[in-house]
Amino acid sequence: MTRLVNRHPDRPTRLLLAMLPFALLIAAYAIGSDMRLAENPNDKLLPSFTALGDAITRMAFTPDKRTGDYLLWVDTVASLTRIAGGVAIATVFGLLVGVSVGLLPYARATLGGFLSAVAMIPPLAILPILFILFGLGELSKFVLVFAGIGPFIARDIAMRVAELPTEQIVKAQTLGASTWQICTRVVLPQMWPRLMDSVRLSLGAAWLFLIAAEAVASQDGLGYRIFLVRRYLAMDVILPYVAWITLLAFSFDWLLRVLQARLFPWFAPEGASR
C-alpha cells in the first residue's frame, strides 16, 4: 500500500481540494446569515449575499450622493498610492542599509546592533511621536508603512549578504575586484531575488500598518472606510472591502512571485510555488 506521504492528488482533484475550504467557508457563512436573518431581517452582522451585492454596486459602481465619487475606486487609489510609496522607500532603504551592514565590517559594527534594536520597536506604540514629527497628512502614512517594514527588510538583506560564501568574496578579490565591484558584480545580482522574497514577506505587515495609519486620521482609503462604517456595523460594506484587500494583496504577492521566476530563473530552481 502506498504511504500517505507518497500519494499525490491529480490535477482536477487538486483544484477541487483547493476550492473545498473556500466553499465550506462560504456555505458556513450562508447558513449563519440565513439563521440570523430569519430572526431579524435587518440583521447587520451577517448580511445576505444580495445585500453584499447591493453594497458592492453602491460603493464601486454608483457615484456617492454627497461627493459624486465612486468610493471604492477613490479609496483604492488612495491606499495603493500610500502602500506603494511606503514599500518603495522601505525597499530602497532595506537594500542600501542591508548590503552595507552585511558586507562592510565598519557598517556592521556601527549599525548592526542599532538595526536589530530598531526593528523590535512596535511602530504603533510610538504613533504620537510619528505624528508630531511628520504631521497627520500623507507623509505620516508613508512613514508608518516604512517604519513597519523597512528595518525588517534591512535586517533580512544583511543576513542574506552575510550568508554568501566567503569564497566568493575572496575569489573576486584575487581577480582584482574593488569593494564597489564586489558589491555590484557579486553581491547585488544575488540579492535581487532575495529582496523580492523579503518584500513579499513584508507585504502583509505593510497592509496592516497602512490600515492602522488610515484609521488614525484620514479622509479616504480602504482602511479609513472600514473603520468609518464599522461605527455603524455596516458589515455589508466591510466584508466586500476585506475581500477586495485580500485580492489586491494576493495579486501583488503573485505578481512578485511570477516576476521573480521570470527574471531570476536560477533562483529557486525547483520552481516550487512557495
Partner: protein, 362 residues
Amino acid sequence: MNPFKTIFGTSAVAAAALVAFGLTAAAPSAQAAEKTSFKLAWSIYVGWMPWGWAADNGIVDKWADKYGIDIEVVQFNDYIESINQYTAGAFDGVTATQMDTLGIPSVGGVDSTALLIGDFSNGNDALILKDGDSVEDVLGRDVHLVELSVSHYLLARALATLGKSERDVTVVNTSDADMIAAYQTDDVTAVVTWNPLVAEILSMPNATKVFDSSDIPGEIIDLTVVNSETLADNPAFGKALAGTWYETMGIMMSDTEAGRAARAAMGKASGTDLAGYDMQIASTKMFFDPAEAAAFGASEDLKTTMESVRTFLFDHGLLGDGAPSADVVGIEFADGTVMGDESNVNLRFTTRYMDMAADGAL
C-alpha cells in the same frame, strides 16, 4: 475512497459546522421569553462610570438578588464595539447615546428601549480652534473629529447656527485615541471631541473653545438601553437596573464621605481623580433624581431633538441606504406618540422604570 480526502473532508465539515454554530450562537434570543441571567455592557464615560462602581460594590448583585435574577456587568474599552456586540445579540443592555442607539441597533432591527436617561452633555463635547475665537473661524478649515459620532453632530449644529453646512469645512476622520497628539501637530487647527480630551486640549496653549454642547443643551443624551423584547418578557431586569442606578446616584450625589469616595473611585477608574471627575460632572447634566430624568424623558423638547438627530443620521446615509426618508425607523415616545414608521418602531422612550424609582416602587 481516498483516505486523505476522507480525513480532510470530515474535519473541514466539522470546522464549517463550528463556524456556522459560532456565528449563530450569538443570534438575538428574541424568543428567549423569561430568563434569569442578563448581561449589560458599558464603556468608560463620565455618565456611565456609576455602572462599574455599582458592580464593584455589590449594588448590582444586591438588586439582582432582590428580583431573583443574575446580572453580569461587562466593561468595554471600545465604546462602539460594545454597541456592536449588543446589536449582534451578545448583550441584553448597553450604555449609549441616543444618536448611536438610533443609528446602530435600531437601524439594525434590534428593538431597543431607553430604560434610563442618565444625563445629557452640557459642555462635555466641544469644538476647539487654534487662532480663532468664534465659530465663523472654523469655515474653510480641516476639522479633525470622529466621523459620524456625536462630535460630527455637534459640528453640524455649530455650522447650522451660522446658516452654513459641512460643505464649508473639510472633515477629517481622526481616532479619539490620537486626538491629543493630533492637536499638537501644526496640520491640525480645529478639532471636535469630548471629555476628558476637551479638558486636556484646552490646557494646551493656543486652544479656544468656540462651541460646546451647552450651546445645544439636551441634544446629546446618554442612555442605558435594553433590548425591548427582553424587557417586555422580563420586567425584573429593568427594575433591577433602575434600582441599582438610582441607589448609586443617591450615593454619588451626596456631599458625604461615602459620596466623595464613590466619585473618587469612578474618577480613578476613568483615569483621573476626584477633582477631575467633579469637573467632568460639572459639564454634564446628570439626572441624579429619577423624577427629573422622567420629566426630561416625557418632554416635548425630546421630540425636537430626535427630529434633528434623525435628520442628521439620514443626511449621512446612516438610516440604511435604501431609506427613502428619515421616517424609515419609528421612534416611540413616552406619551405613546410615534415619530416615523409606526410598523417599524425600533427605538422606544419610556419613563416607566424611572417613574417607579421616583415613586419608591422598586
